[in-house]
Subunit: 366 residues, 2 copies
């Protein structure tokens, strides 16, 4: 499914780097990479499975290839309490193919974030399919319409959801991405809060035009540099490594004073309040699965769709919204969103007002 031979590969050595990098780019959400990483490790050790995943540059993708995203839908909190059977995404993929009477040629992550960046790699090893080095968000985001393919007009032609009991649901010809979000969300409740997914059926050319390019290899590189700094193999600290590798900036450093967290409608929403070591300033970071808005001393300093990540100040380890807790010392790091999300069309769907915040998008400098 490639038009040339520029193919990267992901092997077992990359997994730690990928786990760290995707969680940093995941803006505090996207679920824990842990389960996906373990599944991937065990498949890479399986003599019957391939020993690497072929990664295709989106620019090199056959324009006529059929591509889909696979991953896990639902609150990351529920996801970690109710471990998957392991073939949910694979069965969703097969249901999608059967329902559409099409064969998928390549997978693409729906978002960059722990769980959903690993899921396509797992399914790639289960099927032998390659993975496109791109995604639909350049980060993680909590709702299904917040997807560059849908924002730029791709129809919700088919979408499959499966749970660990085998229940399988295929939605077809859905009249809007917002309807898809609403239907999938109410379906999830009936499935116990978490499901494997495969959607939509994309053309290679559309993925090349509207996918956020090279985000898997970026995540791996971010992780590689953070780990190098953590292990003393760099001349700066791990947080600085993350800032430099992502092209972002350090927004605040402080200690977590309080976390409000609420689980409703399949989302984990809340706010983290941080104080500077010196006690002279405070920072509030609001989240809905992902960190969405950072406010420093009452002034909004970063908003969705820009990435806001909390990193352990010493190790650079990303601190996700479902585990952040009192007393942690963290740096708040901001990373500018993909250009695909900085247009008026995209900001109507992924800007702060789409999440109910009464403020304009504050664009971080790249």
């Amino acid at each position: 499914v490639t038009t040339d031979s520029t193919v990267e590969r992901i092997t077992s050595e990359d997994l730690e780097w990928l786990a760290t990098g995707t969680a940093i780019l995941g803006s505090g959400g996207g679920g824990s990479p842990r389960i996906g990483q373990l599944r991937l490790e065990s498949l890479l050790e399986d003599p019957e499975a391939p020993d690497e995943v072929e990664l295709i540059d989106p620019a090199a993708l056959d324009p006529d290839a059929t591509v889909t995203s696979v991953g896990q839908l639902g609150s990351p909190t529920i996801g970690s309490e109710k471990p998957p059977r392991g073939d949910e995404e694979l069965r969703a993929l097969r249901a999608l193919e059967q329902r559409s009477d099409r064969t998928v040629d390549a997978l693409v992550p729906g978002e960059i974030g722990g769980a959903n960046s690993f899921a396509p790699l797992v399914v790639a090893l289960q099927t032998g399919l390659p993975v496109v080095d791109a995604d639909a968000m350049g980060r993680a985001l909590p709702e299904l319409q917040m997807d560059s393919f849908f924002i730029y007009g791709h129809p919700v032609n088919h979408a499959a959801l499966t749970d660990e009991k085998g229940n399988t649901i295929v939605l077809s010809d859905i009249d809007s991405p917002e309807r898809f979000e609403s239907l999938a969300r109410s379906t999830l409740v009936g499935l116990g809060g978490v499901a494997g997914y495969a959607y939509p059926l994309l053309e290679g050319s559309f993925v090349a035009d509207y996918g956020v390019p090279n985000t898997l290899s970026l995540a791996r590189e971010v992780g590689r540099r953070v780990h190098a700094a953590r292990e003393g193999r760099a001349d700066h600290d791990p947080v600085t490594a993350a800032v430099e590798a992502t092209g972002g900036s350090r927004l605040f450093r402080g200690t977590v004073q309080s976390v409000e967290r609420d689980h409703t409608d399949g989302f984990t929403t809340g706010e983290v309040r941080l104080e500077q070591a010196s006690g002279t300033g405070e920072c509030r970071v609001a989240f809905q699965n992902e960190y969405l808005l950072a406010e420093r001393d009452g002034e909004i300093i970063a908003t969705v769709p820009d990435i806001v990540s909390l990193l352990d100040s010493e190790t650079g380890t990303p601190v996700l919204s479902d585990v952040v807790q009192f007393g942690q010392r963290v740096d708040v790091v901001g990373v500018p969103a993909t250009d695909l999300f900085r247009t008026e069309r995209a900001l109507a769907v992924v800007g702060p007002q789409a999440f109910g915040y009464d403020c304009e998008y504050v664009g971080l400098d790249g």
Copy 2:
């Protein structure tokens, strides 16, 4: 799909009778037959469509035939406020066939009640398929697990739902009828409260064993006799005609004093209170889409799954739960449930306790 030549036919002359008879057997629910009747009349006048529906006795059905139910799901109140496009059930049928890779040979009503007895007849004219003279309830009931096929162990192998905008959802390999009810109900909310359905894929032999036999022809006969009495072509009144034709009994005659009605979770629930003309007795009839329980002077005199219908005392016209109102003079008529619903196994699913009533099933005499 028949093993012999005993085939009945439904033609335009039967429609008024069927509308009255299915509404009487529908126990006050099942939706208004009006829209289905109009769709059927217009198809019967269409020179391109067949001019009759072939009705197959379930005992004469090919044991290997593939049979499914088609109809409308959702609150009858919403259904009448949001008229269908007309091909919802047909598109659900086609989605079911595509997803299962099977071809349907015959249709069977899921319940006897205005809307859902007519829907298979409409789809029969749209497709040329025959209709089995049977159903899965012998009446109408509000929840999907309350179905003789599911009660007697048929799996929810595939089920398709479609709305008037073309949104199509296929549920497959659903692990229990209760899960199916819950998933379908939450999906309905995302579809605006009403949808066309096709489910499940049944074998002819299973329909012959666990379908409630000959309920369409019974409904037609009930309607024929009520209309004959109404038009003075019988030596008794229309309500007596209904009682005799159904094998039921007259439980109460009175005037509607009050109706409580509440629309929640896609159901219309409430209670009708009647007083005798003489003022010496009162009767309360509780409903959840269908009439479920009748109480006379504090004593429970009929319960689900037996049929409880309210008929206009003069004309015998069935008065459905979504339109019954203050001041109407009605007879409360009870009809014993099918034997398939009088077993312990069935009563656990369709008895009064399944609806939250703290009482045993009061079986009416046949």
